[in-house]
Symmetry: C2
Subunit: 184 residues, 2 copies
Amino acid sequence: MSLSNAILGFLSYQPMSGYDLKKVFDESIQHFWSTTQSHIYKELDGLEERGLVASRAIEQEGKPNRKEFSLTAEGRTALLEWLAAPLPLERIREGWLIQIFFAHHLSNEQIVNLLRARRAALAQKLAELEQVDGIIQQRKAGHSAEQVRTAAMWQATLSYGHAHYQAELNWLDGMIQRAETLPE
Amino acid sequence: MSLSNAILGFLSYQPMSGYDLKKVFDESIQHFWSTTQSHIYKELDGLEERGLVASRAIEQEGKPNRKEFSLTAEGRTALLEWLAAPLPLERIREGWLIQIFFAHHLSNEQIVNLLRARRAALAQKLAELEQVDGIIQQRKAGHSAEQVRTAAMWQATLSYGHAHYQAELNWLDGMIQRAETLPE
DNA sequence: CTGTCCATGTAAGGCGTTACATGATTGT
DNA sequence: ACAATCATGTAACGCCTTACATGGACAG
């Protein structure tokens, strides 16, 4: 559901091939939604069957032919409907909390190692996020209402990631202290 | 991977049937990991094939027979190994951020509605978390090192959820303000 | 001459959910 | 009378990932 709507969203800007879509995914929403080429191709098939997108073949010289997809009127309607209706909350699903839940089987030192390793990985993700911020600044050039709105929403997804990583970092710092003084 | 290790984790306390496992899942880790009975049964089959758990049939009167699973020595080793090794970070995967990313297609009012709806849902989840806290207090009775450690880790998963919900709530409050004054 | 870009896909499998089937016992 | 609890599973499907296949153009 999310993937197909993301595809509709990108096609609302301009017609694109599956290959193009993979690139824009990686450039703009990869920090909160990743996907694979094969999945995109499959999903495009489904979308076409449902009449939400239409394709046309484009012959090219020196390069493989392209299959370009564009939004149909129904596709645009479906996108707008999906955008406007609040989604049900997905519950937290963090495999690594299972580790924490049963971590009392480990030594305090092992627990602290676990937490520190995660802290380091998280700090690196945060740094990567800053780079996405750079990309947004580059693209932001325009001043039309539409461009300001688009940039604001992009930035919102970034600050969401920022807030979450930062919250977890703080939690980890507190946990590391507590784990050090647990009765063995 | 996570589910099978969660099962091993619970079996490290005592032998249990698939039915029992579903209950302890719902009582203790449902706030960050949900699952279904059918999935548990399937996973138990796999675990038994791999020699990490062993089953025995127990006949009962007036009730359906049980199939009780217990950890084997290999199972215990596998659990301890899995617990001690840091897991790779799973990337953020929030379908609803796709909504936000393309929300510039909506009116400011619609965007604010979206944010407020999520805010309400989130506040309710937070309240539910507080209830889990009550359950922990009940169980905490003992004072042995083992009991203190177990309770501390349980509580840690709770405060993790708390931190995340609270961070998102704060983010939402900021976003609602910004969305109200976006150029249309 | 090695690797990356362009471009489209197939096949297989893992993880997870929903719906369904069965049937006795106990509580309201 | 009706629903919940106890207890185990099967079948079908959805979402997603990994690995694989193909092949020309172009840059180092």
